[in-house]
Subunit: 202 residues, 2 copies
DNA sequence: GTCTATAGGAGGATAGAC
DNA sequence: GTCTATCCTCCTATAGAC
């Protein structure tokens, strides 16, 4: 059916966006990978930008699903860490579309896409709530504006450190994720020895 | 003279690469901004990739100069922090060329450019030395491979958090830099209050 | 070395038959 | 809704006069 075919298209777009990025991806490639003619693609999606937007909607829905499955009763920091891990796993597995942040027509298409924007807002609200809760309970630094924390988490989805470490071949995906998790949450500075934990209990 | 004109070209390229990135930048734009004909550009640089490479050589030289001016006697962490600050300042000021990490012909051109590669290696060696020294003196975490630390520092040069915070308009450049410095070195986690140094003397 | 003019090709999008 | 064939724009690169 139509739905199945469009899913196949979006998946191909997703992988190509992850492999080469929006600019380097050509509509011909998408068509070739799906196994249909380019003109047929345009019966489903009106433009290359809309193809990318559909891929973004897909990952956004996945993110919503993932967030919704997390226990609301858990410590907020744990949920934040879980989402961050999941995001980086997606990228390392080649399933995170990468879009240029400068392209204006692409931005316009994305911002005109209600499903994408709604998803983005819902995810941001949920993460934002966890961030503020984590700052309130003393697990995330309160010196940082919550929005800066949110951006820092989002940035993990396109962190070049992930691919560099992967190219190095010294670590597997899980090790890479834990390394970047550590730089993200613990920072580069050395920490005082674990034995003198401040007040992690309760 | 020739040298002066080429400097003007490289500077224009540098700004355009910072504003729009490599793919969106057109050679016509470069020519227009310099105020010469496109064909004249090609008398100076054989290809668009070489234009970008020249811009990269320029920033790499600036980085070398900056590093060389830092006091070797200073604590290694301070030199690392200084370079990181300088890099982010460059980006916020619109002077950090941004290249796609996927483009293969561009990568080939860059890696064939001896001046760029030599500069990259020198800077990496110097930073690498400081990183290992900082790990030895306990100021940077020893649990992280030095190469991961190096990549994390390099990634600050293209950190989207910088532009997002700038677009937000809530902070000036210096505040943004300090925020990202904090996320980078201190991490997102809360730290124990400064007053309670690791082992209190009673 | 600067210009005008143009080649050459890639790639997004469409026409129209079936 | 799928195809083949084609259009058309944009952009890199070059030709050739001065």
């Amino acid at each position: 059916m139509l739905k199945v075919r469009e899913d196949a298209i979006i998946q191909a777009v997703n992988r190509l966006l992850s492999e080469k990025g929006f600019d380097a991806m050509t509509v011909d490639e998408v068509a070739a990978r799906v196994g249909i003619a380019k003109a047929s693609l345009y019966k489903h999606f009106p433009s290359k930008e809309d193809l990318a937007a559909a891929a973004m909607v897909r990952v956004m829905r996945q993110a919503q699903t993932f967030c919704a499955a997390l226990p609301e009763a858990a410590p907020p920091l744990e949920n934040i860490r879980a989402v961050t891990r999941w995001t980086m796993g997606l990228k390392l597995a080649g399933n995170m579309p990468s879009l240029p942040s400068q392209n204006s027509t692409l931005r316009a298409t994305l911002m005109a896409n209600r499903e994408y924007m709604d998803g983005l807002i819902e995810v941001s609200d949920r993460l934002g709530g966890w961030i503020e809760a984590a700052q309130a309970d003393g697990s995330i630094s309160s010196r940082l504006p919550a929005i800066a924390v949110l951006y820092t988490l989002y940035a993990r989805a396109c962190d070049p450190v992930l691919e560099f470490l992967k190219m190095g071949g010294q670590h597997n995906d899980d090790e890479i994720i834990e390394l970047v998790m550590s730089t993200c949450f613990d920072g580069l500075n050395a920490r005082p020895p674990e034995t003198s934990a401040p007040h992690k209990a309760h």
